[in-house]
Symmetry: C2
Subunit: 400 residues, 2 copies
């Protein structure tokens, strides 16, 4: 059972979480608990670090931030003991949860399962602070990708848990964001792959890299709310799901920007020239579209990046102008990516047509299209985002 | 260099402390820093623990509270590095600072000096969170008696430091509390023994048990302010001080209470019968006075205890009534203990007379007298405290 920051935001909520854990334990489960820092605590520590130094050393940063989860784990362990359950906090360095890689961005390489199994054998519930580990140099590290979710999945894997429950402040994964489509429905079961493709929606619920780790290790996940009794959303292998719907959900992201290089000379090696400086500068490119040129001489290349990277990307492209001999560069940060995701679409023809037709019916222009096996994404004007999501949600009957 | 909670109360103060450490380091000193939790943090954690459980487990409590000092040590280490000084935080379990005894009340048994000396050899300033250690069971402990001061003295001892500086929010130890006697002067040098006897004044400045540890290990202490450039008060062996004043200071405490058993049968074993139940109940008895009875049959026994223990003490004495066959019991919590302290008084006759005469000149009644080699204490009505301190301070010319 992993509880996120809002689930343990104050002592009352921690007492509530203790009751949830007790209930699970009383139902004859062996339980390990992973906790995040109380909501707001990590931000407060980050603010303090910024006031101290703009170049706060990464190793001290990790020791600083890890204190947040440390506090929660002791409070929850005490709350459990107050309910008559045997429990103790196990800090990352005590288990240890061994990590590799740089500070602030470590990844878990091993978890000592013996200590945890010993606890479970004695009916002691270990409460583990998420997000933290121990380096080979005996220093506290924090887990860059996935944070406490990654801790939960790693621990679930190491003790071969039947499942890993991610408790959060929403009821699960929805067919789309309920804030922009009130008819959005909770999804009961979703595959790891779909969940990854739904990242823009799922990010609120669970870190993508942890979904990946769960997928690789076949750890079954339930995402559910700390505050309701709803069963939540189960994340599992595609082959364990019988798909009734053609698509599973409609995702969107609003932090994209689009660059078009017009009139690029169409010759071998052009694409690699364009994307090398982006790679060198750690700029993630999402969609890439290049059409065959009419006269085989010039073509347009369009790609999308994070909006934050737009300025830098544009200047990198301008440096290349003479080499690439393109005519002009267009930059647009008022774009939004709308995607339909669903493992079911592979066996259903006409899904793409249905999506494009829906958008057309609302006069929404499609700027760029990109597809994968279980996803079709289109780039639209940002102001059309809500209407696009709604009409697609309706056409595919996701509210049924 | 040890910095207390008010010295590191916020990030601005931590940046200030970093400058003090850099100055000391630039003056060709090898420096180790010990820090307390930022002011208010420990109280906040204690409050949280109380909201979780009235029986918060001691082991989890230690892991909870230790997070406060952990945060400060990482922030200060980062601040030092930002000033171009090599530094790193060394948490209690990393060094380790090994402790013994119960959780919440552990005492330091050893500090691994090798790691600290290695740092000093490489001009790396270790920043150590005070108040915390590691048990034989590999769990975080906190030091009950002396807290961060005890950590500082233990570390100073283990690396054989030339001196241990305790930075706080006052300029040092004063001849009496400046709040009630504006003419109180800062003491330049004071012996460990005097400092211990001045506990009621000194407690604000440094924990008594840490003074004791320093005395036993001959660790020279400077208490000084983080916020001024004053040289502070030096605490050292009596034999290194040449006493110019007859007494060093006037101390007082206002949390005492007095119990008198009237008409106790004067026979062997009475005293032990009175004080055994107090010992059994962990009640600390301070002054004890028993006069020889006029007829060798009945006597009055008076003793003082902490005011908080009065109710319990009274009921313990009432249980003994039949066994002790005393006539009546008097309890008074409106008393105050006023003491003069000074190693110089041994060689100066008439000190006691001078003190009593001063009190008499103000019509202040002395209820109980108790003396040690370097201290004379009297119990007076609480409402006379201020006047008593002032007249004694004046008579012994402590303002000169």
């Amino acid at each position: 059972m992993k509880f996120g920051g809002t689930s343990v935001a104050d002592t009352d909520r921690i007492l509530h979480v203790a009751k949830l854990v007790k209930k699970k334990f009383d139902e004859n489960n062996k339980v390990i608990v992973i906790v995040s820092a109380m909501a707001g605590v990590t931000n407060d520590l980050v603010q303090k670090s910024k006031k101290i130094s703009e170049n706060f050393p990464a190793d001290e940063y990790d020791a600083l931030l890890s204190s947040g989860e440390q506090v929660t784990s002791t409070l929850l362990s005490a709350a459990l003991q107050d309910l008559g359950i045997k429990s103790r906090s196990w800090l990352g360095w005590q288990i240890p949860i061994v990590t590799d890689g740089d500070h602030k961005n470590s990844r878990i390489v091993s978890v000592n399962s013996k200590i945890l199994n010993d606890c479970l054998d004695q009916n002691i519930i270990p409460v583990i602070p998420g997000f933290q580990g121990l380096s080979q140099e005996n220093r506290i590290t924090t887990i860059g990708r996935g944070g406490s979710d990654a801790s939960a999945v790693a621990v679930a894997k190491c003790v071969d848990a039947d499942f890993c429950e991610i408790y959060t402040d929403v009821d699960g994964v929805f067919t789309t964001n309920p804030d922009i489509e009130s008819k959005a429905k909770k999804i009961d079961k979703i595959s790891y792959e779909e969940m990854l493709e739904m990242a823009s929606l799922g990010a609120k619920v669970m870190q993508s890299s942890s979904v990946q780790t769960a997928m690789i290790n076949d750890v079954e996940i339930y995402v559910k709310s700390t505050f309701t009794n709803n069963p939540g959303t189960q994340i599992l292998s595609e082959d364990k799901i019988s798909y009734e719907n053609v698509i599973t959900g409609v995702a969107y992201s609003k932090d994209d920007a689009k660059i078009t290089l017009q009139g690029v000379k169409d010759k071998p090696g052009v694409a690699s020239k364009i994307f090398k400086p982006l790679f060198d500068n750690n700029i993630v490119v999402d969609m890439i579209v290049q059409n065959i040129s009419a006269d085989n001489k010039k073509t347009d290349v369009t790609f999308t990046i994070k909006r934050d990277d737009l300025k830098k990307t544009k200047s990198l492209m301008e440096v290349l102008k003479s080499e690439l001999e393109y005519d002009s560069i267009l930059a647009d940060d008022q774009v939004s990516k709308v995607s339909i995701v669903g493992a079911g679409m592979i066996t259903h023809p006409g899904v793409a047509y249905k999506m494009f037709n829906a958008l057309s019916s609302k006069n929404i222009n499609i700027q760029v299209i990109s597809t994968s096996e279980i996803k079709i994404s289109v780039l639209v004007d940002e102001k059309n985002t809500k209407e696009a999501v709604q009409v697609i949600h309706q056409v595919f009957e996701l509210d049924k």
